[in-house]
């Protein structure tokens, strides 16, 4: 038996000096930094394996079905009700102030395209899809299936994350377009029934420009990329058995929702700056 002399100091031991105590106060911020760095590392590797790895069409189609088809009713119900509520509330306000509802449909469509359709769809996907991804990958981690993937010479990012990334990005765009149609149709019906507004008056495209479509699609793509990366990162970093899977699913939905809000702010801000520069 050999007896080596290499000793390594554990950086996570309890603080013994005042300096170490101060360092421990900053640990939460370091952990947030680690999480963000980890998410970007997963994103970078996902892009790398999209280019260098094998394209698994079967896995991509399974995920397209899981993310897309299985979310259709959920999105339809949510956006349908949202369309009805928004038109009823805004129509009521407009009636109180000006009494003119001519522009209601046109402005509602603009708002849907720019903001509500992609953002609410992404929020819904963050709750339904991100939790599922984090729980599935997390349980694979705790049952050593991810280790078994690695021992079979498969890269977990390539095998697990890439198909989910591609499918969610595509389906967020598709579902956002679907959300516009559902919410606008629900809004048109509500306007007709509540305020007697003719559908032909409600359907007004005059407010819509390339900027609205561009901003809506950009947001949908950005959300569609962020949600699976954050969810898979949470799943791959599970530790501590089934309790860890629970923590990962919570982290996935919280972080994915936060990412949607932050990306919404950034893309909206950048979009208005670009629009200002162009015009």
């Amino acid at each position: 038996m050999d007896s080596g002399s290499t000793k390594t100091e554990d950086p996570r031991r309890e603080p013994t000096t005042f300096r170490e105590f101060l360092a421990s106060l900053g640990r939460p911020f370091v952990e947030i930094g680690d999480t963000v760095r980890g998410i970007f590392a997963v994103f970078g590797l996902t892009l790398y394996y999209m280019v260098r790895g094998r394209t698994r069409w079967k896995a991509i189609f399974e995920q397209l079905h899981e993310v897309g088809n299985r979310s259709v009713i959920f999105i339809a119900v949510t956006l349908g009700f949202l369309g009805m509520i928004l038109i009823y509330q805004s129509g009521y306000q407009a009636q109180q102030i000006t009494g003119d509802l001519q522009m209601l449909g046109g402005l509602f469509l603009q708002l849907l395209l720019r903001e509500f359709a992609p953002t609410i769809t992404a929020m819904m996907l963050a709750t339904r899809v991100a939790t599922g991804m984090a729980a599935q990958i997390g349980s694979m981690v705790v049952t050593e299936q991810v280790d078994a993937l690695e021992m079979s010479a498969a890269q977990p990012i390539d095998y697990l994350v890439v198909p989910r990334f591609i499918a969610t990005t595509i389906m967020t765009v598709v579902l956002s377009i679907f959300a516009v149609l559902v919410a606008y149709t629900a809004g048109a019906i509500t306007a007709q029934l509540s305020f007697g507004l003719n559908v032909r008056t409600f359907v007004d495209m005059s407010f819509i420009g390339w900027f609205d479509v561009w901003m809506g699609l950009t947001k949908a793509v950005a959300y569609g990329m962020a949600i699976p990366i954050i969810a898979c990162h949470a799943g791959l970093n599970v530790f501590g058995g089934s309790a860890g899977v629970g923590r990962a699913t919570t982290a996935a939905v919280v972080n994915a929702s936060l990412a949607v809000v932050i990306l919404d702010f950034i893309i909206s801000g950048a979009g208005y700056v670009i629009l200002h520069l162009v015009s």
Binding site: S3, G4, S5, K7, T8
Partner: protein
Amino acid sequence: MIRIENITKYHQGRPVLEDVSFTIAEGSNVGLIGPGGSGKSLLLKIVCGLVSPDGGKVFIDDVDVHSLTPQELADLRFRIGMLFQNYALFDFMNVGENIAFPLHQEGGFSDEEIDERVKQALIDISLPGIDHLFPNELSGGMKKRVSFARAVIRRPPILFYDDPTAGLDPVTSSKIFILLEKMKVEGGVTSVTISHDIQGIKSICDRFAMLEEGKLVFLGDHDEIEACEIPVVSKFWQGYSDDELEI
């Protein structure tokens, strides 16, 4: 040859492996024993690069495992098979797909060749015709045997068995050990087996290493461990305890 040099690993501030060093010669079958929580499974995961150590190095055929790029590590793993403690069968694949998975990853096999090898693997583990079943339809013993078939399907020169008989009844355990013994008899395989089944591990290993609280407390062959006078080793090997349990 596998060379483990001064491996140290901490968990939540506590050392779980401390300065572990030993060498596994090519073609030898090492039994890694020790009480639960002594760091055996962790050491095995460090050896095959699944977990990074906080200190020390692992060399497989003079290649530093933890300095490899992911692609180089994947290439190295084509030569390693691992039977996991909790089966680790992919629950979204059926038995046939599970066993065939390492062959698909390696590439260069025709579909007919893969089908043929999967069929033969299922015959070898005495479970022919179950390739369409999913892992949740199998018993613990069947899962272990399928996991074994997946580990050896590439006929790797290095095999790691992490507690191959954990939670199995004695009859199923003996079936598993017969499979492991068959691999040993066929020869040319370097293996490390973690097990608490001393009788079983005696039949398939020619050298033994014992871990106690993360430290290597014994390394030697069958005769040496039989004659070992280190109390913790002899007690574990013979399976008795001085501690009295009040009932």
